[in-house]
């Protein structure tokens, strides 16, 4: 069963513990800038916007990769094959959700791989803001509900019907 992360903006406090947990899980270090989930903040407008890969059905990132570095793992989740990625940033430009980024240290693309089914960020969020939803229609609805207000405030339109 394919799954996705959903984040409840009402519950998120912007504490960045999810970033820490993700960086520990993937880089064995405390380094929020290398996290696959990113909490964007605008203190002046009181905005806290968590950004993470939405595990799209038609992944723009994969389409954009000239090297075929973005592939499915054994759980059917797209991840970036570090050895193949050349850090060209095409995927970053292609993803309109900010779900994929360049790791500042190894300069390769990184995206959420759902931690092989045991998401570190979900466990690390003490405010219960992150949950895992199935890719069934209800889950998709939850995903859209969570991201809509954020993207609207940021001036990004969600394309209807894409789901």
């Amino acid at each position: 069963m394919k799954e996705i992360l959903t984040i409840d903006l009402e519950l998120c406090t912007g504490c960045r513990n999810c970033e820490l947990a993700c960086s520990v899980a993937h880089t064995q270090s405390f380094n929020p800038k290398r996290s696959r989930i990113q909490i964007l903040k605008d203190e002046v407008r009181n905005l806290i916007v968590p950004m993470v890969c939405l595990q799209c059905e038609k992944p723009l990132c994969q389409e954009a990769c000239p090297n075929g570095a973005i592939v499915e793992n054994e759980h059917g989740i797209l991840f970036v094959k570090e050895e193949i990625c050349i850090g060209c940033m095409n995927c970053v430009t292609a993803c309109i959700y900010g779900g994929i980024a360049i790791d500042p240290q190894n300069k390769k693309a990184v995206k959420c791989d759902l931690c092989n089914g045991d998401p570190a960020c979900v466990k690390a969020c003490d405010y219960g803001a992150i949950s895992v939803a199935s890719i069934k229609p209800e889950g998709l609805h939850q995903r859209r509900k969570a991201v809509s207000p954020a993207f609207q405030t940021l001036g990004i339109q969600i394309e209807e019907g894409q789901e």
Binding site: C15, S29, N31, K33, R34, R45, Y127
Partner: protein
């Protein structure tokens, strides 16, 4: 030899502002081993680099910007950092801590400490990114309020992820209680460190980093971490945590008024009839729009408010803490909550400590009531209790050092000296630091905390909430079941010397780690064993796995900070309380009639601390036990040891 420990960034910076030179150096192994970080390491640095003659606002003074091994290392709550120097308000040891996101960012940028000395010819700020540091021109930022400063720095670098710690106009004008503002609305407010930066033409620090931190044994550390979090999640603390998440510290207005300890009318009494007007419920219901938390924090006491309409509307800002509600509210007999929000916001933007600012204003109001001051002294302002417009006006005048603000910007001790006559009677301070929001006439041990706190009258170096909020099991476990009853007796001086001594060393470690007081102070979950549990796994410093070693480290830090003050002339007679809190019985409220037995508590405290009762000076043997021989070498010839 390279610095061997993990958890630290591994480097520190020497910034000579006079020469405009920044040097990157490897961390000192002994700093970590003996003093952990933060407050402890700062005490070592300031002991070495300042003298009894260092003028706090001269180029000779040294500012230490510090983090600790836990800062940014996913230990909740560890988003903290600190500043230390010889303080301009008090003339003694000054340190101030702050949460938010800047502490971790400094470490991710590659540094554990920054040591600043000298004075720059023109305004500058320090920019840190990924192991590099440079002094940049701050001419365009000078004069700007703190939020604008941060926005401008982010724009200059086209990087919204930059975090900052900056001073506002108050710091530039060297108001003696100006603070350093982090992430828009978090403040290293106390003790005037903003003025020290201002005197150096230093607008602040900005950082962005992607270097990350390692653990010595990640698996073990995460496990230790989880164990500590488990303790915090014990059902016992459910209510405390729920309260902190819903109300932040504002809940204290109600809790503390109930025990008759809420400073009211310039500390005249401890009970405020209109407390509900400035209390937790009205804020939560009417103004609060969101919850926030500092970096990696599971407590989450921060909250955001917005005020629509009225005299003081505001876009979303960080809501005030208990201390701000007390300082501008009850203590000035002001029950207009929106005006308190406004003054709290102005203090953040101007870079002022809300506690000292509010308390200096209540001091002025009392002078006015007593006829010591008239409109001639106040630029025509009517300083009647609760006059909101006058209060608001004073905040601006103080930050600008304009008119009556000039004398008030010096804090109550210096202002009272300048005014003369009976003014001193209304100056509520210890060692020159305006008292924070407690009262020893309703809570004995806080009197001892105020008296012995190295930075002056506030609670954060050793407050005990064991008896304040009533935790019998903790009292029994930490001290002894036989002592528990007397400890829980809030108005009994019995065993309070021991309790405050124990807390002071514990907080010394908290302030060196550097973590937030919440989860240690209230709810009282983390204790010495927490450090024994997490520090070795994170850092690889094996000695920190020994409970005795950890206790001694806490003592070492406490003693070194005390020694810093002894060198500057502090003795038992300075470890005192203002006359009002020492000998005017509490006039009204639930704690009516209360007075602290300070001498009895002090005697016991000195005994536990290893100090001489008559002078408060440390015993030579104690210092040597703590490997503070270099302190003996310097203090003994001056007759400052026993």
């Amino acid at each position: 030899m390279t610095f061997p420990y993990k958890g630290y960034a591994g480097h520190y910076l020497e910034v000579d502002l006079t020469k405009g030179v920044v040097q990157k150096k490897e961390m000192e192994k002994e700093w970590a081993r003996l003093y952990l970080g933060g407050s402890g390491v700062s005490s070592k640095i300031l002991w070495e680099r300042t003298t009894a003659e260092t003028d706090p606002l001269s180029p000779d003074n040294v500012v230490v910007v510090g983090t600790g091994p836990l800062t940014g290392a996913m230990f909740s709550p560890s988003g903290r950092m600190m500043f230390a120097a010889r303080g301009p308000l008090t003339g003694v040891w000054a340190e101030s801590h702050v949460g938010g996101f800047m502490g971790p960012e400094i470490k991710y940028a590659g540094f554990d400490f920054v040591i600043m000395s000298g004075r720059s010819k023109k305004p500058v700020y320090l920019f840190l990114r990924d192991g590099k540091a440079e002094l940049l021109d701050a001419s365009h930022l000078w004069g700007q309020e703190t939020d604008t400063t941060t926005k401008m720095i982010r724009e200059d670098h086209k990087d919204p992820s930059i975090e900052t710690a900056v001073i506002g106009p108050a710091g530039e004008n060297q108001v003696l209680y100006s603070g350093i503002i982090v992430d828009f609305y978090r403040a290293a407010g106390r003790a005037g460190l903003g003025a020290v930066l201002g005197s150096k033409n230093m607008k602040g620090i900005a950082a962005s980093g992607s270097l990350g931190l390692e653990a010595y044994d990640m698996e073990k550390y995460l496990e230790a971490n989880a164990q500590e979090m488990e303790k915090l999640k014990d059902p016992l603390w459910k209510d405390s945590l729920a309260s902190l998440r819903k109300y932040g510290t504002t809940d204290l207005v109600a809790i503390i008024n109930e025990i008759g300890r809420l400073p009211t009318k310039n500390h005249w009494t401890g009970f405020y009839e209109d407390a509900d007007d400035i209390g937790p419920e009205i804020i939560a219901e009417k103004y609060r729009i969101a919850q926030e938390a500092c970096h990696g924090c599971a407590v989450g006491c921060k909250y955001i408010i917005r005020v629509k309409g009225g005299n003081y509307p505001t876009e979303p800002i960080g809501g005030p803490e208990y201390e701000t509600l007390m300082a501008f509210g009850s203590n000035c007999m002001n029950n207009d909550i929106e005006s308190i929000f406004h003054m709290g916001k102005r203090c953040d933007l101007l870079g002022l400590d809300t506690i000292s600012c509010g308390k200096t204003i209540s001091f002025a109001m009392e002078l006015y009531e007593k006829g010591i001051w008239t409109k001639e002294d106040t630029d025509g302002l009517d300083l009647t209790w609760g006059n909101v417009e006058a209060q608001v006006e004073l905040v601006e005048k103080i930050a600008k050092r304009e008119g009556v603000g000039k004398i008030l910007s010096n804090g109550v001790r210096k202002a009272a000296e300048q005014i003369g006559g009976d003014a001193w009677k209304y100056a509520i301070h210890v060692k020159g630091l305006e008292a924070s929001g407690q009262d020893p006439r309703a809570h004995q041990s806080i009197g001892l905390t105020y008296a012995t706190n190295v930075r002056g009258a506030d609670h954060l170096r050793s407050i005990s909430c064991i008896e304040e909020l009533g935790y019998p099991k903790i009292a029994g476990d930490r001290f002894s079941p036989e002592k528990a009853d007397a400890i829980l007796e809030i108005m009994s001086p019995k065993h309070k010397g021991e309790v405050v001594w124990d807390m002071e060393d514990l907080y010394a470690l908290v302030d060196s780690a550097v973590i937030c007081k919440y989860a240690t102070m209230w709810p009282p979950v983390f204790y010495y064993d927490t450090f024994v549990n997490v520090i070795p796994a994170l850092t690889g410093m094996e000695e920190w796995g020994n409970p005795k070693y950890v206790r001694l480290a806490g003592q070492r830090i406490s003693h070194l900070r005390r020694a810093f003050n002894h060198r500057l002339g502090v003795t038992r007679k300075d470890e005192n309380l203002p006359p009002r809190l020492l000998s005017e019985p509490m006039p009204t409220g639930p704690s009516k009639g209360g007075l602290p037995d300070l001498d009895e508590m002090l005697d016991e405290y000195y005994e536990f601390r290893g100090c001489d009762r008559d002078t408060g000076y440390p015993k030579e043997a104690k210092l040597k036990e703590l490997q503070l021989d270099f302190v003996v070498d310097e203090l003994k010839p001056k007759g400052l040891t026993r």
